[in-house]
């Protein structure tokens, strides 16, 4: 069963790269911002249906939640628009390595200080080495 979970995680990652490559094309076709908009609108429709049929949580928490915790969507917009713009110029490989470096560094910083409601996790030597190795990979991939 664990083996299947690894396969699913692998497929999930592949889906992200395919998504980026395909949206790069759609972006040339209808515009970059418009491509992001398409993704978010249709994504909202799909998730809306999933929520209606399978949602077990509490959507009404949205009115009580601290306002900063509602900003996930706008941050996702920056990410998607960035890759739609970047992929036609530099390719999928460089784009994905750059995204992952950004994620690595930021998640280390967020967790180190325990920002945004995360549990505090100290930075350590291994994590810094991971960022350095990833940067070497970015230079080689470029």
């Amino acid at each position: 069963m664990r083996f299947i979970a690894y396969i699913f995680a692998l497929l999930a990652g592949m889906a992200l790269s395919f998504e980026g490559a395909i949206y790069g094309e759609l972006g040339k076709n209808i515009g970059k911002l418009e491509t992001s908009f398409y993704n978010f609108i249709v994504g909202a429709i799909i998730l809306g249906l999933l929520w209606l049929f399978f949602g077990r949580g509490n959507l009404s928490y949205v009115v009580k939640a601290p306002k900063w915790s509602l900003l996930g969507g706008v941050l996702g917009v920056v990410y998607l628009t960035a890759i739609v713009i970047s992929i036609p110029f530099v390719g999928v490989g460089i784009t994905m390595v750059a995204v992952i470096i950004g994620q690595l560094i930021m998640s280390m910083v967020i967790e180190h200080f325990g920002w945004l409601g995360t549990n505090k996790v100290k930075m350590n030597r291994e994590k810094v080495l991971a960022v350095i190795s990833m940067m070497i990979a970015l230079i080689l991939v470029n």
């Binding site: 945004l116 409601g117 291994e126």
Partner: protein, 156 residues
């Protein structure tokens, strides 16, 4: 141009990781599907405003776009569902590392063959070495996280 794109994409990665932290806090109270739903709704609202003022493309061209280009939205949803499934079985760290492996390996393959009409960038020796360094990076992420967990569980 290339460097600016890379910096811009780095910012995309930074905001993505801030998004996961924020959504993580929200989903503990509201649930996973609810959080993702909200993310897509607020994202659409922000983009609708941005496009009204700065949109230079043609949103209605969506109806003429080939279906394979529109199918990408399902890949995004597939990612979310597979990710949630994997996290419950093997945990966050193993899932993220496996996701990244899938993401990076297939991205250089897409470049190599120029799939989806994208840029063709051959998988040369330099890129094989890049893959090697990515694996080294993932190994360090694994070790680093293991150490953080051990230190967190150590009695004071």
């Amino acid at each position: 141009m290339g460097i600016i794109m890379i910096l811009f994409t780095l910012i995309g990665g930074i905001t993505l990781s801030a998004q996961s932290a924020i959504n993580g806090s929200f989903s503990r109270k509201a649930g996973t599907i609810e959080t993702t739903f909200l993310t897509f709704i607020t994202g659409s609202m922000f983009l609708a405003l941005i496009i009204l003022f700065f949109g230079q493309g043609d949103i209605f061209a969506i109806f003429d776009a080939p279906l394979w280009q529109l199918s990408a939205v399902f890949l995004g949803v597939l990612f979310l569902l597979f990710n949630v499934f994997a996290v419950t079985k093997i945990g966050v760290i193993a899932t993220s590392i496996t996701v990244i492996i899938g993401q990076l390996v297939i991205s250089v393959v897409i470049d190599h063959f120029g799939w989806f009409n994208s840029l063709i960038i051959p998988l040369d020796t330099k890129r094989w070495f890049a893959l090697l360094f990515m694996l080294i990076a993932l190994y360090f992420i694994f070790k680093g996280n293991k150490r953080s967990i051990e230190e967190a569980n150590k009695p004071e």
